[in-house]
Amino acid sequence: MKKRILWIGLMILGAVAVAFIVNLALVIRIPNTQMQVTMTEKFNFPSNQWVFSPPSSAASKKVIRPSADLLYSILCYDVSQHPLRVTAMLSEYSSISGFSMNTDNFFVIDDNQAKSNPIEVVLISKGMTYQDTTGKAYVITAPSPQGILMIGAVVTSQADLPNLAQIQKQATAELVR
């Protein structure tokens, strides 16, 4: 009888251990899968090019909880082969940020922090080196070779919208070969 209880106990413990491992393994995959789906299916933007998005509305269904007060430009980066140099004019209350495939926001620089405007960022992947000769660029190592860069600017009034859009559309991106 004691032996039987012990066996049942061991089986339950084993099932719990397997459940925990399976659960964690699946949970760890969620961010990467979601980022992949967002980049390739929802956005489907060409790599390493800024894509300007109109202000979010009730029709915006690509990303959950979009901000209706921000104007976004998105860039799906791929720095697996070459560094990527981007420049962006930062209007008041705006920032440029990067997201790796595990969803981490690995950098964000806002208009108050930027050492120059337009800001210059050179994104490199792990193991790459890049010598910034201008002293103006932020050289940032991306935790994953693919991911997303975002420029977000607060729309303080609808009247400012055309001007903000114009500023954001001046953002550039080029691979450094």
Binding site: V18, P31, S57, I64, A68, F106, I148, V154
Partner: protein
């Protein structure tokens, strides 16, 4: 064999509940508002990352933006569009802030005014410096946030470049945040 099958099934079917529950344990709460300081941060655990992936992709880290969400009113009742609410308080200490309402799926609520939020730069303040937002599916005078025709709602308070007191869990828990008060029920 039974152990492996049972464990695998349990592990698979508990993914969604676990992702929705575990980050809550580390949330900072204040009335109906809550936030997770590790959202978007490189120090987030796998469950917080999974939650962010499914509920708020491209969340910035807390030094840039703090995202406070509310799914209920001050009395802990779920937010529903069949009720009218007042969101009232004082301007939070942040460089810029906004209050946005979302439907049960986390999307902006369709309305004829295309009004989804109020921000520190477009809200009308009361003479005493406080603000009052009417969350209702019928026209209201003043700062009216249409709640449309959705089941449950959530409210997001975004604080861009928040003041230092918001960056500390202990002080955030005791700070005065906007109240969400149910005014009337239409049912």
């Amino acid at each position: 064999m039974i152990v492996v099958v049972a464990g695998t099934s349990a592990g698979y079917f508990t993914v969604k509940p676990v992702v929705n529950l575990i980050p809550l344990w580390s949330n900072v709460k204040n009335g109906p508002w809550s936030t997770n300081f590790s959202m978007g941060s490189t120090g987030a655990n796998p469950y917080v990352r999974a939650w962010v992936a499914e509920n708020g992709l491209m969340a910035l880290n807390k030094s840039e933006v703090i995202y406070l969400d509310a799914y209920s009113d001050d009395d802990a009742n779920p937010l529903v569009s069949s009720c009218d609410y007042i969101i009232q308080g004082r301007a939070p200490d942040a460089r810029w802030w906004d209050i946005t309402v979302y439907d049960q799926d986390g999307f902006l609520i369709a309305n004829d005014q295309d009004r989804y939020s109020f921000s520190s730069t477009d809200i009308t303040f009361e003479p005493d410096g406080s603000f009052k937002i009417h969350l209702s599916n019928t026209y209201q005078q003043g700062n009216w946030l249409p709640s449309g025709n959705t089941k449950t709602m959530s409210i997001y308070l975004r604080l861009h470049n928040p003041g230092p007191a918001y960056l500390n869990a202990r002080t955030l828990q005791t700070m005065e945040l906007p109240h969400i008060i149910k005014e009337s029920s239409q049912q």
